[in-house]
Symmetry: C2
Subunit: 322 residues, 2 copies
C-alpha cells in the first residue's frame, strides 16, 4: 500500500488549494468535511491506475480530487437522510450547522466536483465526464434502494448486493477506470480496471458491515452494532434468517420488531449470525469478490511492482479494522 499511501499529501494539498480559493458561509461545511480525514481510497485508485500505466499522477490529480469531493458530498446528504450525528468521530454538518446548510453546501459541493473534474480538458474528458455523471446517478439510486429496504419486510441477498454495488462500489470502479482513461488504455482494459474497483468495492462494503457488527473498536465515531440496532437488512441478517431454526428466527424477528435495543439484542443477534454460519458465508462472499477483482486486475497486465500494490489493496479490505 506504500505507493497508494504516498499520494495522500499531494492530494490533501490539492484539495486545500481548491478550497482556499473560495470563501463564504456556504463553503465552511465543505471545508469542514474535507478536513475530517478519511482513507482517500478512491483518489488513490485513480492516481495509482494512471501511474501504473505510465501517466504522471499530476495528470489525474484533478479527477482524483473531484471524486473525493463528490464522495464527501454524498456523505453530507446521506447523513441528513440517515439522521447520523457523527461522522469520523465529529459532528455531522446538519448537526453542527443545520439541515438547510447541509443540503445547500452539499449542492454546491456537487457542482464544485464538476468544476474540478473539468478543470483540465483532454482528449479523454468527454468519456470521463460521461462516466462521472453516470456514476453519480447510480450512487443516488443505490441510496434510494437503501432507504426503500428499510421499509420492506424482506430483502433478497441479490438485492442487497445490487444496493451496495450502486451505493458504494460503482464509485470505486469509476475512480479506477478514470485512472485507466487518463492513461489512454484501450476499452477492454478500462473495463477490467473498472471491474477490479467495483468488485473490490463489494468486498469493501461487506468489510464495513462486518466491522459494524463484530468490531471491538468503537472508533471513528461509529456506534458498535449500529446496523443491528437500526434493524438493517444486511447480508449477515439475510443469510442468518435463511439458515435459522424456528427459535433463532423468532429471536431475530422479535428483536427487529423495534428499533434500537440493548447489549442483549446485540449479543443475541451476533450469536445467531455465528451459529447459523451467516458470518462464514458472508466471509466467503467477500472472498469471492476479492477473487474476481484479482482476476480482472491480472487480465490487464501491469508491471509486477504495481500489480503487487493493487493486490495489497485487496488484502487491505479484509485486514482493515476501521
Amino acid at each position: 500500500m506504500k505507493k497508494f499511501l504516498a499520494y495522500k499529501e499531494a492530494l490533501e494539498t490539492y484539495i486545500q488549494n481548491v478550497m482556499s480559493e473560495r470563501s463564504g458561509a456556504i463553503y465552511e461545511p465543505v471545508k469542514y468535511i474535507m478536513t475530517l480525514g478519511g482513507k482517500r481510497m478512491r483518489p488513490a485508485l485513480t492516481l495509482g491506475t494512471a501511474e501504473a500505466f505510465g501517466t504522471s499522477s499530476k495528470k489525474s490529480m484533478h479527477i482524483a480530487a473531484a471524486i473525493e469531493l463528490f464522495h464527501n458530498f454524498t456523505l453530507l446528504h446521506d447523513d441528513i437522510m440517515d439522521e447520523a450525528s457523527l461522522r469520523r468521530g465529529q459532528e455531522t454538518v446538519h448537526i453542527k450547522w443545520n439541515r438547510d446548510q447541509a443540503i445547500l453546501s452539499g449542492d454546491i459541493m456537487f457542482a464544485l466536483s464538476y468544476e474540478v473534474i473539468s478543470s483540465k480538458p483532454s482528449a479523454q474528458s468527454t468519456e470521463i465526464l460521461r462516466l462521472f455523471t453516470k456514476t453519480a446517478q447510480e450512487v443516488c439510486i443505490g441510496q434510494q434502494m437503501d432507504m426503500d429496504f428499510e421499509k420492506r419486510n424482506s430483502v433478497k441477498a441479490e438485492e442487497y448486493i445490487e444496493m451496495i454495488r450502486l451505493k458504494t462500489s460503482v464509485l470505486l470502479g469509476a475512480a479506477t477506470a478514470m485512472g485507466a482513461l487518463v492513461a489512454n488504455l484501450d476499452e477492454e482494459k478500462v473495463k477490467a480496471m473498472y471491474s477490479y474497483g467495483e468488485q473490490m468495492g463489494l468486498a469493501f462494503q461487506i468489510q464495513d458491515d462486518l466491522l459494524d457488527t463484530f468490531s471491538e473498536h468503537a472508533e471513528m465515531g461509529k456506534i458498535r452494532g449500529g446496523d443491528i440496532l437500526q434493524n438493517k437488512k444486511t447480508l449477515l441478517y439475510i443469510y442468518a434468517l435463511e439458515a435459522a431454526t424456528d427459535e433463532q428466527r423468532k429471536t431475530i424477528l422479535d428483536h427487529y420488531e423495534v428499533k434500537g435495543g440493548d447489549e442483549e439484542k446485540l449479543a443475541d443477534i451476533r450469536g445467531i449470525f455465528r451459529e447459523t454460519a451467516a458470518l462464514d458465508r458472508v466471509r466467503e462472499v467477500q472472498e469471492h469478490y476479492l477473487g474476481e477483482a484479482k482476476k480482472h486486475l491480472q487480465s490487464v497486465g501491469m508491471s509486477q511492482e504495481w500489480e503487487q500494490e493493487f493486490l495489497s489493496m485487496l488484502s487491505f479490505q479484509t485486514e482493515r479494522i476501521s
Copy 2:
C-alpha cells in the same frame, strides 16, 4: 412572444422522452415536478437565441432541457429550505413524499441535467459546461445569501440586488448565453446576450416581488403577501425603511417583530410601501434593468424580426400578472 411560445411543445416532448427512459421511485418526484408546468422561459431563451443567429433549435434543445431540469432541481431543494407546501398550486415534493425523497430526487435531477447537457458533444461543449457549472455554484450562493438575510437585521439595496442576481438572474443570463454559444457567436456578443438575460432576470425577480405583495390574484398556489408575512427584506421593504417617517418606521418594525400576521399587517405594510414611494422606486429600478437589457440586446444586432421578439420578452416582464 409568439416565437418563444412556439418552442414549448417540442421542449415538453423532449423532456418527456428523457423522463420516459427512467423508472423507479427516485424519478417519480422528478417526473412530478416537470409536469407541474411553468413558463419555460429559460429554455425559450436558449432556443430563441440560437435560432435568432441561424442555428436550428434542434441543436440547442438538449441544453434548453438541461437548464429547465437544473432550474426545477433548485426549486425542489429550495422548497425544503423554505418549508414551502405549495408549488404551482400543487403539493411540493417534500410534502407529497418526504424530506429525504426531495433531497435525493433533487440530487439525481442535478446529475441528470449534466447528462442531458452533455448528450450532444460539439466544439462549444467545454465552454457550455464551464458556464453551466459556474452558474450552478452562483445559484447556490444566491440561495445562501437569501437564507443569511433572513437572520440579519438589515440588508442594503445593493446586497438584495446581488442576491437576486445570483439566485435568479445568472441562470437566465447563462440560458441566453448558451444559445449564443451554440450559434458560435464571438465572445463579445455572447457576453452581451448574457447581460440581456441577466438584466432581464433582475426585472423578472422584481416583478415576482411586486406580484407577491400587490397582486390581487391568489393564483399559482402562492400565498398573497407571502413576502410580507415572512418578513422578507425585499427591495420594497428596504426602500420603505429608508424613506419612512418615524411613525411608519415603527409600524413596519412592529409588524416585522413576528413572523406571519393578518390582513391588517398586509394592509399597513402595503400602504407604507405606497406612501413612502418605495413602490415607485422599485418600478424605476425595474425599468432601469429592462433598459440595460435592451441596450445589450441592441448591441448584438440580430434581425429586426428576432429583436422584436426579444424586446417583447422584456415588456412581458412588467406586464405579466403571474
